[in-house]
């Protein structure tokens, strides 16, 4: 699981990028390539990048195909193919190449830009447009698809099945597409020096899904049946996927006028007894902070998915970052303990969203799910997710409960919640501080009692296996979260191969913090490397605030949008462990 050459000259992972502009159809081709990888039994990941134009802008599809499951991008791309080079140099920092990489371009479109050739990559001119013209109705992106698939050694029938799946209408367009792909495969065979994939480890029942879709499905599995939606990049697709899906399972989605409305709408639905969710990004979460506090004070279960993007403020809407941790953890006024969880893989978006619903409902508290643009918009081939454990439902008051107190000071801190329609247990949910009955109170004793109740209910949270992903052993540990987890995992695999042992702690439960479990996980650790995608080191500060970290702690951080690559983590790890 290293991305390096195996003994028979084949590799376990190939990364390619396809770039072009103005109707070139690189996303379409990239999606087909990913589909072909799935058809051939491989794992894969597709991410994308584009210019600021809504149509016709420069764009690149980045596809990684491997024999092992990974959400990480590789250190560099083995092939960059371009239908044209218009403004593709803008993507140079996102498509790192090396001396062993191939640069494929149509000579009719001119030379590849210096931004790419300076890597030492080898230029292989291929007249994609002319080749496409050899097929009636053929398009260069389909030829490129064949070229890329052929170069990495994907079986031709997998590529053809992918084309057929995408072009269901069939007819001439399908025939042309298939012919163009075959042309591309034939051209690829003439190119030497390309890295070819080792055989796939086929598995039954894999899925092809994006992080946003996975989170949506997880929420449905968790029981969400009401969603309020306000569009915001990069969360919009989650909401758009949920809209028809919710209707199918008997739920409802309402498009709100803004985030202030959507958070209040879901609080209302939750008060009515229906598990509710909304999805947004940083700017939206910032708007929601007041009402989230209401959810905490009135003890209303809701889930807010924050698909983090580059901040601050409007930031870079289409790119990723891990810098909403502060606002998710500490952005509510007053002492307002709540749940914050974070998936650490595309597949985990499903399980974590589902878990968030369960936590919110069982603890009667808002839960924030910190996903990010990298996960949200990446499409990955994953193993079929496990059937998640049964959800813990809301503790609901029985009708005509004698002397019902909504905010009764129970041992666990969770008090039965009366659902409207239940006779004999009417109460008024209130953001005002209140006594056990829910009547507004300014008594110091009531305030203290309710603060303790709201804290206590989170304290004994049963999260044994879920609070973090723990792997490896050794006295050097990497503590990280979210989308940094995958490159760390790959770095570990490489380090292990060199005999360097390290531990991974990838937190999935950020709030309430789990100092005892962390202590146990880091027993014997002398060095801690904190890896995160935040300029100011939000995660590092969070760890220092909530945990006692052993030994020497170093922060390896940078802002978005460029992802960490396994090699840089690997080198840092190895260097530190040897010093």
């Amino acid at each position: 699981m290293t991305g390096a050459k195996l003994t028979n000259g084949l590799v376990d992972s190939v990364s390619v990028a396809l770039a072009g502009s103005g109707g070139a159809g690189v996303m379409t081709a990239g999606n087909m390539l990913l589909e072909a990888a799935a058809q051939a039994g491989y794992y894969g990941l597709m991410t994308r990048t584009s210019g600021p134009q809504i149509r016709g802008g420069e764009a690149a599809a980045m596809v990684r195909v491997s024999t092992f499951a990974s959400d990480s991008q590789d250190d560099r791309f083995h092939v960059l193919a371009a239908i044209d080079w218009q403004n593709v140099n803008r993507f140079a920092s996102e498509i790192p190449l090396g001396a062993a990489s191939l640069l494929i371009g149509d000579p009719a479109q001119g030379e590849p830009p210096e931004a790419f050739t300076r890597s030492g990559a080898r230029y292989v001119p291929l007249p994609l447009k002319a080749l496409a013209k050899q097929v009636s109705g053929g398009w260069p992106n389909m030829v490129a698809l064949g070229v890329l698939g052929g170069l990495m050694g994907l079986p031709a029938d997998a590529l053809e099945r992918a084309v057929q799946k995408a072009m269901k209408k069939g007819g001439d367009a399908l025939a042309a597409g298939l012919a163009a792909v075959r042309l591309g495969i034939a051209e690829a065979a003439k190119v030497d020096g390309a890295l070819r994939l080792a055989g796939a480890r086929s598995g039954a029942g894999r899925w092809l899904i994006s992080g946003n879709e996975a989170a949506g499905l997880g929420a449905l599995r968790g029981g969400v049946r009401f969603v309020a939606a306000y569009p915001i990049t990069p969360a919009t697709e989650l909401l758009e996927w949920m809209s028809p899906a919710l209707t199918k399972v008997g739920g409802t989605l309402v498009q709100a006028e803004d985030e202030l409305a959507s958070i209040s709408m879901i609080l209302g639905a939750s008060y009515g007894g229906v598990p509710a969710l909304t999805a947004t990004s940083g700017p939206g979460l910032a708007l929601m902070s007041e009402a989230l506090g209401l959810g905490v004070a009135a003890e209303l279960p809701i889930v807010v998915v924050d698909v983090m993007r580059t901040g601050p403020s409007t930031g870079i809407a289409t790119k990723t970052e891990q810098a909403d941790l502060n606002i998710a953890m500490y952005g509510l006024h007053g002492d307002a303990p709540h749940v914050v969880v974070a998936p650490n893989s595309v597949a985990d978006c499903l399980a974590t969203a589902q878990w968030a619903v369960s936590l919110a409902e069982s603890l009667q508290v808002p839960a924030i799910v910190l996903s990010d643009q990298y996960f949200g918009q990446a499409r990955a081939i994953i193993d079929r997710p496990d059937r998640a454990p049964a959800r813990v439902p809301r503790l609901v008051a029985q009708p005509n409960a004698d002397g019902y107190k909504r905010y009764a000071l129970t041992e666990s801190g969770v008090s039965p919640m009366a659902i409207p329609g239940t006779p004999g247990t009417s109460y008024t949910a209130d953001g005002l501080e209140h006594n056990e009955r829910g009547t507004p109170s300014s008594q110091p004793s009531d305030h203290l009692a309710q603060l303790e109740k709201r804290q206590r209910k989170l304290a004994d949270l049963d999260c044994a296996e879920h609070w973090a992903t723990l792997e490896g052993e050794g006295d050097i540990a990497v503590v990280t979260w979210g989308s940094c987890t995958a490159p760390v995992r790959e770095a570990f695999a490489r380090a292990r191969a060199e005999g360097v042992k390290a531990r991974l702690v990838s937190l999935r439960l950020l709030s309430p913090a789990q100092p005892e479990r962390m202590k146990k996980a880091l027993e014997g650790v002398k060095r801690v490397l904190v890896v995160e995608q935040s300029f100011s080191g939000q995660f590092h500060r969070y760890l220092r605030a909530e945990y006692d970290l052993p030994g020497e702690v170093r922060s390896f951080r940078r802002p978005g949008p460029l992802p960490f690559r396994p090699d840089e983590i690997h080198q840092t790890l190895v260097k530190w462990s040897h010093s």
């Binding site: 502009s21 103005g22 109707g23 070139a24 159809g25 690189v26 996303m27 379409t28 584009s50 210019g51 600021p52 134009q53 809504i54 149509r55 016709g56 802008g57 420069e58 764009a59 044209d84 218009q86 403004n87 109705g137 992106n141 990049t233 990069p234 919009t236 409007t314 809407a317 289409t318």
Partner: protein, 191 residues
Amino acid sequence: MSTRKAFTKAAAKKKRVTGRARPVAGPYADFMARAYVMEVDAAERYADFADQMDVHNNPEVAELFRKLSRIEALHAKRILEEMGWKQPPHALLAWRWDEPEPPETTAHTEVHYLMQPYHALQLALGNEQRAEKFLARIARAPKTPPEVKRAAAEMAGEEREHVRLIEDWMKRVPKPAKDWDRDPDPPVLGD
């Protein structure tokens, strides 16, 4: 001969009486100002389109629009020179045209990010034809003062020449394929 050269040559062929300063007021000056505005507006619009094509990675059409812009700017400059005007007359809101835009200007809605050179020339052709009609109508109208009639008729003739040049140009440019606006990729997210 390149089309640009053809236009310039055609322009040079027409000799108007120059050398004496033209009046700054009166129906003739008004008419020439209006003609000037027509050319300048066309030039600016073509330049706008060239920018749009640049941003949307359509360099061939961008270059074509730039050419068209330069040609119109040349026509405008000639009017200034003939009239001896140091400052260009102001367009602004002084006039309303019969249509929403001046006759030689393409509406913003007519361009497409995947448009082909042939499309651009079709638009230019329409512009020249409309300009010709507009000037010919002025030349024909009985109320038009004789000096204006003369100038309008001359200019209408020039536009007819432009029409011919563009038609020629169009013959040398490939006709767009049936699926010229095919873009399988979906639009991209923004803010």
